[in-house]
């Protein structure tokens, strides 16, 4: 598999689509084409392409508000959802998104499939392809597993979360939600804080690509043990011209922040010795109303879910007026509809 060079940092593209003459009913096309056959992570997705996803998501939001929130765009296409890890919102979100586009959906939970009999990932991918899968959404506990699947699969692979590595659809729905609520509809120059268990977070890693590409002033904050490796990354810069800071000081991170995203403490991935106790973590790094007061008035509160309320976020903040956590879930459906639609329109031979 050839991996294109790291994301080109284009300046935020002018929104104006290229106007082609109305050739009878042939459609006016997007100035930017979606040319990725797979969506594995956002490092190879350019800023104009991310903006194309955002515009397509706007259209999908409009579809979701219709009396019948269903369009036939993917009628007869097979979307197979193969999850090797527990999930509620991401799996259901993909399923609802695919159904809203009239696709046929096949759900496979690894725990109840032949995977439990020892079938390899590659064999499983070959099998679902033989059963008609055209778009494959995969979640796996091992970082890189969707890349392996993409080498075998002849359709499109969407990464629904792999290990600590990437969760691109979550990062795109986070960006969409921020743009919908920030004045001016842009995160450019906004202070965005990702707070918590950064080390184990695929959500944080994918968000680094999209938020820095969007021109955000990105801060990662957590105990030093949960930021290992990120100082070096920030020191290099995610890429030229991107703003990216790492700190263990909650006060420094939260001061005048426009967006605060709390991350779940991933107990299932936590090696011993990284945290003294959950209680101490909550006291020192939990997003409480008092800490949130350091941010700008009306700062947006987000969480990719599922939440450990009382650990990384206090219940009153999670359910407070500044919280967009439920809207993130709704936008997740629209973003995944947009991505399924864009990927279904690609052809063999398009880049990964």
């Amino acid at each position: 598999m050839t991996v294109p060079p790291a994301a080109e940092i284009s300046t935020p593209a002018d929104d104006a689509p290229v106007v082609v003459p109305s050739v009878d009913a042939a459609p006016e096309t997007q100035a930017v084409a979606w040319r990725h056959r797979h969506l594995l992570d956002l490092d190879v997705v350019s800023w104009p392409e991310i903006e194309l996803v955002m515009r397509t998501t706007d259209a999908m939001r409009e579809v979701l508000e219709r009396p019948i929130a269903k369009v036939p765009a993917l009628r007869g296409r097979n979307v197979t959802i193969l999850f090797y890890e527990a999930s509620t919102r991401t799996r259901v979100s993909f399923e609802v998104a695919a159904k809203n586009l009239s696709a046929d959906v096949v759900n496979i939970a690894a725990a109840t499939s032949s995977v439990s009999k020892g079938e390899s990932l590659v064999d499983t991918v070959r099998t679902v392809e033989a059963l008609g899968a055209e778009l494959l959404v995969i979640r796996h506990a091992v970082s890189g597993a969707p890349y392996l699947a993409a080498e075998t699969f002849s359709g499109s692979v969407i990464n629904g979360g792999d290990g600590w590595h990437a969760h691109p659809t979550q990062a795109l729905l986070d960006l969409y939600t921020m743009r919908a609520h920030l004045p001016g509809g842009s995160v450019e120059g906004r202070k965005v804080v990702i707070l918590g268990d950064v080390l184990h977070s695929r959500v944080a890693r994918s968000n680094i690509w999209s938020l820095t590409a969007a021109g955000a002033d990105l801060w990662l904050c957590g105990p030093a043990t949960l930021l290992r490796g990120f100082e070096a990354w920030a020191g290099r810069g995610a890429a030229a011209g991107r703003r990216f800071h790492v700190t263990s000081s909650v006060d420094e991170a939260l001061r005048d922040a426009d967006v605060v995203m709390a991350l779940r403490i991933q107990r299932e991935r936590m090696a011993s010795g990284l945290l003294p106790s959950l209680r101490e973590y909550a006291a020192r790094y939990g997003l409480s109303a008092a800490r949130l007061a350091l941010a700008r008035p009306g700062a947006l509160v987000m969480h990719p879910g599922p939440m450990n309320e009382g650990v990384e976020i206090s219940p009153d903040v999670a359910a407070g007026t500044q919280s967009l956590i439920t809207e993130q879930v709704t936008n997740g459906v629209a973003v995944r509809m947009a991505l399924l639609y864009l990927l279904a329109g690609t052809r063999p031979g398009d880049a990964a």
């Binding site: 009878d24 042939a26 269903k70 369009v71 765009a73 639609y341």
Partner: protein
């Protein structure tokens, strides 16, 4: 791009007014009537027809906009993703008479998609079709109820409608296609 004029601004204006009269005559009034323009150039045309009806009948007929992108049957055939312009139908379709408005009627596939989209919003009592130009070459059993101008064409020609709201001028032009990519062939 040049091209031979087949309708001038004045002819477009007169055709629009005539269509507005025909619509009211066929409906025997304006009760239950609503216009739905197909994105993109059907929308300003629908507004012009509504303005003409308002002038003659002193009634404001509701106007909506319909984007058929997600109802197209050629997702994997178009070279690039179409621009989605948005759908806005600010009225109840149930029991109403909907006049679909588009600039050019060609294969009929756009109208097929538009009817599929409309019935997902409600159950109109009737759906009619008004177009500025009918250029023939239907691939589906669809015909227009109101036509601005019938223009015999060959498939190698392209008909372009320019409207002031979008293109800064009113004109209908016809061009001979030189060498075109097969994927640019209009399919919906």
């Amino acid at each position: 791009m040049s091209g031979r004029h087949i309708m001038t601004a004045e002819e477009i204006r007169r055709a629009t007014i005539r269509i507005s009269h025909e619509i009211v005559e066929k409906q025997a009034g304006t009760s239950g009537l609503a216009l739905v323009g197909i994105q993109r150039r059907g929308v300003p045309l629908a507004r012009r027809i509504a303005a003409s009806i308002a002038e003659n009948e002193s009634v404001d007929v509701p106007v909506g906009a319909l984007d058929i992108t997600f109802y197209r049957d050629d997702l994997s055939l178009v070279a690039q993703q179409p621009v989605v312009k948005g759908t806005d139908l600010p009225f109840d379709l149930n029991g109403s008479t909907i006049v679909l408005v588009d600039d050019v009627l060609y294969t009929g596939r756009t109208i097929r998609a538009a009817m599929d989209a409309l019935v997902d919003f409600g159950r109109p009592q009737a759906i009619r079709l008004a177009v500025l130009v009918d250029r023939g070459h239907r691939e589906l059993p669809i015909r227009a109820d109101h036509v601005g101008k019938n223009v015999p064409t060959s498939r190698e020609e392209i008909v372009r409608v320019h409207l002031a709201e979008i293109d800064d001028e009113d004109a209908v032009l016809i061009d001979r296609v030189e060498v075109r990519e097969p994927e640019a062939e209009p399919v919906a």
